[in-house]
Amino acid sequence: MKAFLKKLLKNKSAVTGFSIILLNVFLAIFAPLVATCQFDEMDFMYVMAKPGEGGHIFGTDDYGRDIFSRLVYGARVSLMVGIISVGIGAFIGTILGIIAGYYEGFIGALIMRFNDALLSFPYVLLAIAMMAVLGPGIFNAMIAIGIVMVPSFARVIRSAVLNVKEETFITAAKVLGASDFRIIFSHILPNIFPSLIIYSSLNFSGAVISEATLSFLGLGIQPPTPSWGSMLSEAKDFLQVAPHMAIFPGLAILVTCIGFNLLGDGLRDILDPRLRK
């Protein structure tokens, strides 16, 4: 653990990414303290105010709501959707990947065929279609994003399991009479953990963008709860008169995703340089 932290601190990419994410987490947790207004508080004197006007550092939206405060509260939604949907994708994907990789045979082939079929749908399209059917809302958004992540997790975990399975310590465990359950939990899972961590961190940015996409299309987070995607959706009708309404939420998504991608790249370099490609 100490050696890992030492390597992590030496990796510029990981440190930058981690700092950005830490800032996001801080904003999300302490949103009521950091925000200058309530996210739904309207300032009728300053509707669509430019950045800096009336004490609103990022300006206000078409209802006179403070954009900075809405961004800070929006960080909560993005992080929550990111964590839960990646969690769903990683959890189900790991189970399927382990079954397909460890047992192979008919069940493994069936899982992978189904997996390939799910991968035949472009990621965003499947999430949009699921939301169209399930109906809008944060809970459904997390489920839809999580489920569309399952096949890629399953594929990565399966190949990691196939590699670990060939190691001599697994053969030794089998010879000693260890049960499949014990082999999977005590020997395989700890060894595929780095792959799981790397892939999860790389998927966070995808989850954040997917949430923003769904909310932008009116399928994700519903008003008045602020989400970066829904803020962009509202902004698209005022690009001419209030471009700042679009600039800041987009920058928030961009910076957050850069953070997650940098951390993912850094972790990959530290934990598994072979995956660099």
Binding site: L118, Y123, L125, I128, M130, A132, V133, L232, Q240, G250
Partner: protein, 318 residues
């Protein structure tokens, strides 16, 4: 090669079967009675019942699936309730716009992505490498719909160089259409551009570390010759796959780009269908894009085998 072609083509069948199963199950996710939800709250009970019978919704799920399978295989994707038109014909009307947009986006992404990736690899650890790496990182992290908005603000609203919405008209000349497609293609292509740049860079770096490149340098060959004839030729093989696979993502990304730029393509059709809860149209479009995606993947895999002797040989040896 023929063995590979046959085997790879046959693999499409089970994938297609599962894809059909997933799109079928999509409709099963609709909370409540799908017939009532599809027809809306104003539908009469008799009409709902008749609709249920027409779609076979009163039969067991397995039977329903085979009815759906039969319908789709005969080209019947159902009827759109808002357009009162055959879903497949609606899709075919809009597909050319989306395909043009996606192809143009892929072209821009490739034309910019490959050279920047090469420069980044050749000038490894330099200022240019850092700059290109940062730009590529931004490319893969940026939400395309937001990038589209930024392009509209800068190039259409501030500078007034390019139009912000619509498709233009061929009657006003080809330039009118191209002018309307530049911003959406750029917005749509940014993600693929970032991916292609990063992939080209890492692929080139790997090839440049190979022994045969060192040998070429030792022989005294010119750097230009080594890079273009020996390194790039080998580095490009895996890049072709990545480029091909981008097309499917671009087709999906078009949903957002077409919304921002108000283009009359599949994406716009999809969003309208979702907003007005036209589930048959949503299902048909998802299935159509997935089928296109599967066949693009098949073509990419075959092309990969054509240009990569290793794959060909492994199959020829059986």
């Amino acid at each position: 090669m023929r063995k590979y072609l046959i085997k790879r083509s046959l693999q499409v069948i089970p994938t297609l079967f599962f894809v059909l199963f997933i799109t079928f199950m999509l409709m099963k996710l609709i909370p409540g009675d799908p017939a009532m939800v599809i027809l809306g709250p104003e539908a009469r009970a008799e009409d709902v019942q008749r609709f249920r019978q027409q779609l076979g919704l009163d039969k067991p799920v397995v039977v329903q699936f085979f009815i759906y399978l039969k319908r789709v295989l005969t080209g019947d994707f159902g009827k759109s309730l808002i357009y009162k038109q055959d879903v497949l014909s609606l899709i075919m009307e809009r597909f050319p716009t989306t395909l043009t947009l996606s192809t143009l986006a892929l072209f821009i992404a490739t034309v910019i992505g490959i050279p920047t990736g090469i420069i980044s690899a050749i000038k490894h650890n330099s200022f240019w490498d850092l700059l290109i790496t940062i730009l590529a990182l931004i490319g893969i992290s940026i939400p395309i719909f937001w990038f589209g908005m930024v392009l509209i603000i800068v190039f259409a609203l501030w500078l007034g160089w390019l139009p912000s919405v619509g498709l233009g008209s061929l009657e006003n000349g080809i330039w009118d259409v191209i002018k309307h497609l530049i911003l959406p293609s750029l917005a749509l292509g940014i993600l693929s551009m970032g991916t292609i740049t990063r992939f080209t860079r890492s692929s080139m770096l790997e090839v440049l570390r190979q022994d045969y490149i060192r040998t070429a340098y030792a022989k005294g060959l010119r750097k230009r010759l080594i890079i273009y004839r020996h390194a790039l030729k080998n580095a490009l093989v895996p890049i072709v796959t990545v480029i091909g696979l981008q097309l499917g993502n671009l087709l999906a990304g078009a949903v957002l780009t077409e919304t921002v730029f108000a283009l009359p393509g599949l994406g716009k059709l999809m969003v309208d269908a979702i907003m007005r809860r036209d589930f048959m149209l949503v299902q048909g479009e998802v299935l159509f894009v997935a089928i296109v995606y599967i066949f693009v993947n098949l073509v990419v895999d075959i092309l990969y085998a054509v240009i990569n002797p290793k794959i060909r040989l492994s199959y020829e040896r059986g």
